[in-house]
């Protein structure tokens, strides 16, 4: 009998954080333009010592303005999707659930498309125009979250199976609309296929990163407060209630927080697939199903996975870039099949 202690949790997270650090270093080093480790270390040192003016302009722009923001984005997106995936798997009591099953990514895609179509007609400042797509996507995500919520409640409470059905149907419907728009307006929507597959190549303003980080901490924190409730929810909703879980409240909090995490991630990076589905399973295999451990380790594991996948996306067919979602799908699908075969019956 070894119940979870804070020390063990901290140790596990620390190891993963170390691996994340290594992944970040690798990501900073590799890219279409080779950077030597020595130059990297030297520039980091200069940056930390405040001697930014001495950083060579060759690498400076690439490292700090292109690679580092991209790595930050990868970390936030990976962490958000993994936490959302873990939460949905618990909420819907379904190991096949991923962050997109309830339609959030389709709604975000539709929001992004509509903002792309509307962009020429709105005369906005350049800074705002760059933000138009993420904002449109986020609004689309919120609208979908609300719609699916109302479709998925019975007698005022979220019902897991109704929610799942509502989400799947909404996702299909919105996808049909997207297909229609993409085939009739193919001129305006060039390159949208990249967004749909998940693409981290567009750098964003600093405020956006703060917003994403704050949003992640808030939403993931809210979910973490229900970690023990989620453990009990997995035993069954009736049992959970009899063991003291306020099931309707937990369902609502987890649904909203996890959907918000998904919406945030999808707004800035498109629909990066398989991360939210597989990382929770891998972490469960290594660390067990206790959500007090699973949630933070899934967040770190997701960050590692997306940083790593993005590095591959940037280097495998350099100088062209693959969309990150293509890499995660190519790696994720076989991995998922492997996990499926391994499952105890």
């Amino acid at each position: 009998m070894r119940p979870l202690t804070f020390r063990r949790l901290f140790f596990q997270c620390f190891i993963l954080a170390l691996i994340l650090f290594v992944a970040v270093v690798v990501a900073m080093k590799f890219g279409a333009v080779p950077v030597s480790l020595y130059a990297l270390a030297r520039d980091v040192l200069r940056f930390l010592l405040g001697q930014t003016s001495q950083i060579s302009t060759d690498y400076g722009l690439i490292l700090w303005n292109i690679r580092l923001p991209r790595i930050l984005l990868a970390i936030i997106v990976g962490a958000s999707l993994s936490v959302a995936g873990t939460s949905f798997q618990a909420l819907l009591r379904n190991p096949l659930a991923d962050p997109y099953v309830l339609g959030v990514s389709s709604g975000a895609a539709l929001g992004a498309i509509l903002s792309l179509i509307a962009a020429p007609y709105l005369s906005l400042s350049p800074a705002l125009t760059a933000l138009l797509t993420p904002m449109g996507a986020f609004l689309g995500a919120i609208a979908t979250i609300t719609a699916v919520y109302f479709l998925g409640t019975r007698e005022g409470q979220i019902d897991s199976s109704t929610l799942l059905l509502a989400g799947v149907i909404t996702a299909s419907f919105i996808s049909a609309i997207i297909m229609f728009l993409m085939s009739t307006l193919s001129g305006n929507l060039r390159g949208f296929a990249f967004w749909l597959m998940g693409d981290l190549s567009t750098p964003l303003q600093k405020n956006v990163y703060w917003f994403l980080g704050a949003g992640f901490l808030l939403a993931a924190g809210a979910i973490y407060t229900t970690a023990t409730d989620l453990n009990l929810l997995l035993a069954g909703e009736k049992e959970a209630m009899h063991l003291g879980v306020d099931v309707p409240r937990v369902r609502l909090v987890v649904y909203i927080a996890a959907s918000l995490l998904t919406g945030l991630a999808v707004s800035v990076s498109g629909a990066v697939g398989y991360v939210g589905l597989i990382v929770p399973h891998i972490m469960r295999l290594i660390f067990g199903s206790d959500h007090r451990t699973l949630l933070p380790t899934a967040a770190l594991g997701g960050a590692i996975a997306v940083v790593f996948a993005d590095t591959l996306a940037r280097t495998v067919v350099a100088p062209a870039e693959l969309p990150v979602g293509a890499v995660t799908a190519l790696a994720g699908a076989p991995l998922f099949i492997y996990l499926l075969r391994r499952r105890p019956s």
Partner: protein, 361 residues
Amino acid sequence: MKEIAIARLRFAVCVTVAAMLCAAAPLRAQSASPTAPPSSPFFREVTDEAGRTVRIPQPVRRIVSLAPSLTETVYALGLQDRLVGDTDYCDYPPDAKTKTKVGGAINPSLEQIAALHPDLVLMTKGLNRLDTVYSLDHLGISAYATDPRTVDEIISSSKKLADVLGAPETGDLIAADLQRRLADLRNRLSALPPKRVLFAVWTEPLISIGRDTFIADALRRAGAVSIVDSSQDWPQVNLEEVARLQPDYLVFAASHAESVAPQLDALARLPGWRIIDAVRDRRYAVISEAVNRPAPRIVEAIEDLAKQLHPEAFAEKPEAGKEKPGKEIPPPQHQTFLHLSLDIHSSSPDTVSRGGCACAR
């Protein structure tokens, strides 16, 4: 239990490290630029064709082109020495293939572009992504976007581009030459009714071009009119509709006429296509792929198509003064456009920089 957990953890760590080491392997060798050249203190503000205000350092010494048509235009203006990078798809003229590649038009590598320290990046609204524009803005790299929608706009766009790049005289010369050639065509074709054509971008499924594209405009200049009247840029067309409209000719764009000849023969045997008279009678016109690129070379493709569709307009001797050195007007045949294209583009950059004949096309 503890042993299993630790073993799992060890396994995970080993897999991660091994996988990361594998990531070190696939790296294409790309030459990064040497130390950055000194930045110029002078700027010029222009409004590009997407309505954006662009601050361009003067003079423009290092150009990166993100579209094959813009690469061609730069060469046509004789400024290829300033071109430091282009896309994987920039293949015309052949020298363009030797430039440093920055990736695709839709997914270029920002790092590679930044490493080349360009003064100006050229983009076109019809091919490149809006996101790339924002990314370059974010990095402080100036990007100039063109958006030609008709043949006239292609010419004026090239002229404007020449001015932006600091070679306005060359731009004027080329624009004047192209306009002259188009005017000549207009004269020859004014009395003749336009031929009704179907421009087939793709055959399975059948995709044509919309009425607002520059290709449709090019067809009109060549004395043809597309039977497809759609507001979409790349409409998918119903075969029955084509059969109802029965175009006079089917027009295809290909790099080499010989390579598509077998496919065109096969077309007659495809189910459903035989109901189109033009297919049964093999009334095809094959022109150069230049028609797909909004660059000065499109005028040649227009001329070629005009000759194939209206041979009677070119039967008489050309007037003196209208003839360009090195350019023949041979009897119209399907294969001759090939020779036309090769002759014209063999002119070397030196001819242009001497400011003599406007041979750069």
